[in-house]
Structure formats: C-alpha cells, structure tokens
C-alpha cells in the first residue's frame, strides 16, 4: 500500500504556484518525501493511462501551452538476452511505445494494463518512469500528475496506480476518464455563450477504450457511482471476436493481434452488414484477400448490444427536468468512436425506442487527447490542498 497524504491547508483557494511548496510540514507531522525536489520547478501532467494507448500532455503551471504532447502505445519491451550489440538503438534494455513495437522480435512485450487497470506492476512502474523522463528529462522537477482511470476503478486499482507512480510523480490525482473527457471536450471560451451547452453541465459521455467502455452522466457535479457504468467490453474484446471468427473460417491464418487491430481500426463498422470488405493480408508469406464484411460487422455490433442498455439505463437515472437537453448532448469518444456509424446507430436506436430528439455525436479527430486534455485542465485548476502527495 503506497503512502499518500492529502494536504489540507487552511488557506483560501488559490491557483497552483509556479514552484513547489512541498517543503511544508503536513498536518500529521510527517515530512513530505517530496522535499528532495522542493524549490524546483513544477510540471503539470495530464496522463490518459490507456490499455492500448496512453496520451501525455505536460506544461508549466500558469501556461496554456504544452511542452510535451504525445500519444504512446502502452507497452514496455524488455530486450531479450543475447541480442547482438547494435541491433537495438543505443543497446537499450528497456523499450517503450512505438520503439518497443518496432523491436517486437527482440523484446518481450508487456502491456502494463488489462481492462483499464494495472495488471503488470513492474511494467507499469517502468512505463511511469518513462513518462516522467519524457516530461522532465532533467529529473529535477516536481511532477503533479492527473491520471485518468476507468469509471469502475476500485480502491485496489487506485492504490496500484499510486504504488507504481511513486518515484515517478510527486503529487497525483486520480479522476475517472469519462469525466476528464467531458472536461477536455469543453470549449472553455464558449462556456456561458448563448446556445452553447457546456458538456460539464449536462451531457452523457461514452468513452470506448481498449479495455473498457465507460459511460458517465456529467451534470455539473462530480459523478457519483450511480452516474457511471463501466463495461469490460471494448476494443480488445472486438479484436478477440474478430480473431475467433477468423480462426474458425481460416484456421492457422497466423494473423497477430496487432494486425487484427489494424484491420479493425481501418474497417470496423456497426449497423447493417456491409459486403464486400476485402482486406489484403499476408498468410504464410503469400498475399491473400479476405472478405471480412460480416466478421467485422458482427464483432462491432456486439459492442452496440453491450453499450446500448447501459446508455438507456443512465438516461433513466438523469433528472427529468434536464433529460431533454441531455439527449442533445451524448458524446462518443475514445478509440471506439472511430468505428464507422457508431453515432448514427446509437442515435437511431434511441429514436426507435421513442426518446425525444436524441443527438449522438462523435468527439472528433482529437478523441485520443480529450482525457489527457481534461486531466491537464484539472491539474491546472487543482488547489494545493487537493493533490495527494506520494511519499516514497
């Protein structure tokens, strides 16, 4: 169990300072373990820790600019023994993200997360260290990280993140991803303008990631457990369905999970079956064309079948006087938002079920960044006393 301390000074709220205040002695008399980095500069980090991809946004307090903006595959590569010098750039023993994937032949690839939560502690710790080195190559700054977590993350999952973050970040806040997506999606400059519905005030976010699909009512207060539904069925589960289907039709096809994911990302759709969708693949060194229209449609439509009941369940929980506006503000984000037709199919099902003028829209091309964007907005707004201090 990591040692954390939430500071509760009695001072009035203020914006985060440009320099650390961790030299202070907390109320319980424990000296903060972050004192080693006191008086150094502070870097704020918005960290969307995803099952397949993570997004990192970092910047200085008081600045709207990002010093670092990266999307990194959530994978750590441990280089195998006996690899000849020069094969791996810089003879590194530890590889991350794209570099790890590019060297898949020479490294054991470990995904730190499964279904949105940490499943490999050591890999997660290494991944966090890597993120730290990206945002603070000097290793001298105090890192204050807001980390997105699935809506269903319980205390064990949260503790696991804190444990792995120790030594990489000095202060941390863990916030549900769909809520961060709403914050990131919010156009701050338009809040208060006529006709602009602030997504933080009344919206329903559907965040379809790799491990989980998270649905969340965002209604101007911090979502309670009743406002969130997490489904352990998302991109990875669709990959599995496609793979199983292909293995039945084309035994020993040799397609890797990575290739299946690429095919899905390029062609997946929901709604009526579309044929033909011809996909060129290399099997046993030879080029083949597979017709995957039905396979892709069946797998992706399963997602709709899983999400839709959760969507209507949350709509039913919304206060009646705001539900009409809510129905106009259903936003699909995350990698799953790129599945063709997902917005129109969800909207049509709502219409068919008699909901009043529902409008389902996609978060847009920036879908990979909304959670991290919301996270760094939260980091910039968090008061000193709201951060949890990780004591090493």
């Amino acid at each position: 169990m990591p040692t954390i301390l939430t500071e509760r000074p009695t001072s009035s709220p203020s914006a985060s300072p440009a320099t650390s205040s961790t030299g202070s002695t907390p109320a319980n008399g424990t000296v903060s373990g972050t004192a080693r980095r006191s008086d150094h500069k502070v870097i704020l980090l918005g960290f969307d820790l995803g099952t397949n991809k993570s997004c990192v946004l970092a910047g200085a307090p008081g600045s709207a600019d990002f010093a670092v903006s990266k999307v990194i595959p959530s994978v750590v590569g441990y280089v195998k023994e006996g690899i000849v010098d020069g094969i791996i750039t810089g003879n590194q023993r530890l590889l991350f993200g794209d570099l790890a994937l590019q060297n898949a032949l020479h490294a054991e690839l470990v995904a730190p997360l499964a279904e949105g939560i940490i499943s490999q502690q050591e890999a997660a710790r290494d991944f966090f260290h890597h993120v730290r080195s990206l945002v603070d190559p000097t290793g001298q700054a105090e890192i204050r990280a807001v980390v997105g977590i699935p809506a269903n993350a319980g205390s064990a999952a949260r503790d696991s993140i804190r444990q792995c973050a120790m030594g990489s970040f000095e202060r941390i806040l863990l916030i549900p991803e769909p809520f961060l997506a709403a914050l990131g999606f919010r156009e701050d400059g338009r809040v208060g303008q006529p006709g602009y519905v602030d997504p933080v005030t009344n919206s329903l976010f559907v965040d379809i990631g790799g491990g989980t699909s998270d649905l969340c009512l965002v209604q101007g207060y911090f979502p309670t457990p009743d406002d969130q539904i997490s489904i352990p069925f998302a991109g990875d589960a669709i990959d599995s369905l496609i793979m199983d289907d292909l293995n039945r039709t084309y035994p020993n096809n040799g397609l890797t999970r990575g290739r299946i994911r690429e095919i899905k990302e390029a062609h997946a759709y929901v709604g009526a079956i579309r044929k033909p969708i011809d996909v060129r693949v290399i099997l046993g060194g030879k080029a083949h064309t597979l017709e995957l229209g039905e396979v892709l449609g069946r797998a992706a439509n399963t997602l709709i079948d899983r999400i839709y009941p959760a969507l209507t369940s949350l709509i039913a929980r919304a206060p009646s006087d705001g539900v009409v506006t809510l129905l106009q503000n259903i936003v699909v984000t995350g990698g799953g938002s790129q599945i063709k037709g997902i917005d129109t199919v969800l909207q049509q099902r709502l219409v068919d079920d008699g909901y009043e003028a529902p409008k389902v829209r996609l978060a847009g091309q920036d879908y990979k960044r909304y959670v991290a964007l919301g996270a760094i907005k939260a980091a910039r707004s968090a008061r000193d006393n709201q951060w949890q201090v990780l004591l090493g």
Binding site: T6, S14, A15, L173, L183, S230, P319
Partner: protein, 129 residues
Amino acid sequence: MQLVRRVCLLRALGRHDEARTLETDEFPSTLAAVRSSLDSSALPDSEVQALFEAEYLRVSEASLLAELLAEWFQGGSRSSSSNLPASPPRAVHHNPRGDGSHAAAPAIADLLDQMLEAESRPHPKPHRT
C-alpha cells in the same frame, strides 16, 4: 471585491446574462482602475481567477446555508431545533440530483472537492455490467 461577489451571486442564481453584462461592461474598467492605483504587477490574472473561485465557493455555500436556514425557520414553529442539519453546509452545486438546475458552470476545483469528499467516505462501487 463587491463586484466579484455580485457576479458570482448572479451566476449562482442562474442570471447569466446580467452576470455577463457586469463582467464585460463594468468589471474590466474597475479592475483597470484598481490596478492603476497599485503598482503594475498587482492583481495579475491568476489572482483575479483565484478571487472568483473563492468567491464563487463562498456564495454557493451561503446560498445553501440560506436554503437550509429558510427550511429550518419554516419548520421551526412546528418542531424543535433538532431539525438543524447535522452536517456542515455544502455548495449548492455539490448536491447531486439537487434541484435539477444546470445553470451554473461549475469550477473544476469545486468538482475536485466533491470527488475528494466522496472518496473519503465509503460508497458502493460503480455499476459494472
């Protein structure tokens, strides 16, 4: 300071147009006057932002307290002082599923307060299907 409070109060009451008018018409000139009367580095934007956040929280809490007291006074003639709320007042928009009003744009820091408060007390796990 009074102007900041009026803006926050109007927003808390859902009178956004009036709040915006004050913010766009009156506030910039008042702020400029305050700044010119002090040295050039006084009252940077970050402090103004903090001032708004603090005042918004104060107004929200005062509004809720007023609501609670009003209820208490109304019920006071019928029952004893045991009707006083046992817990401390919270900001109006802190109340999930309160009055259904979605008028005020919540400050992120206030939302974080709610999150931390919720985390500090035991609660059922989120739904997982």
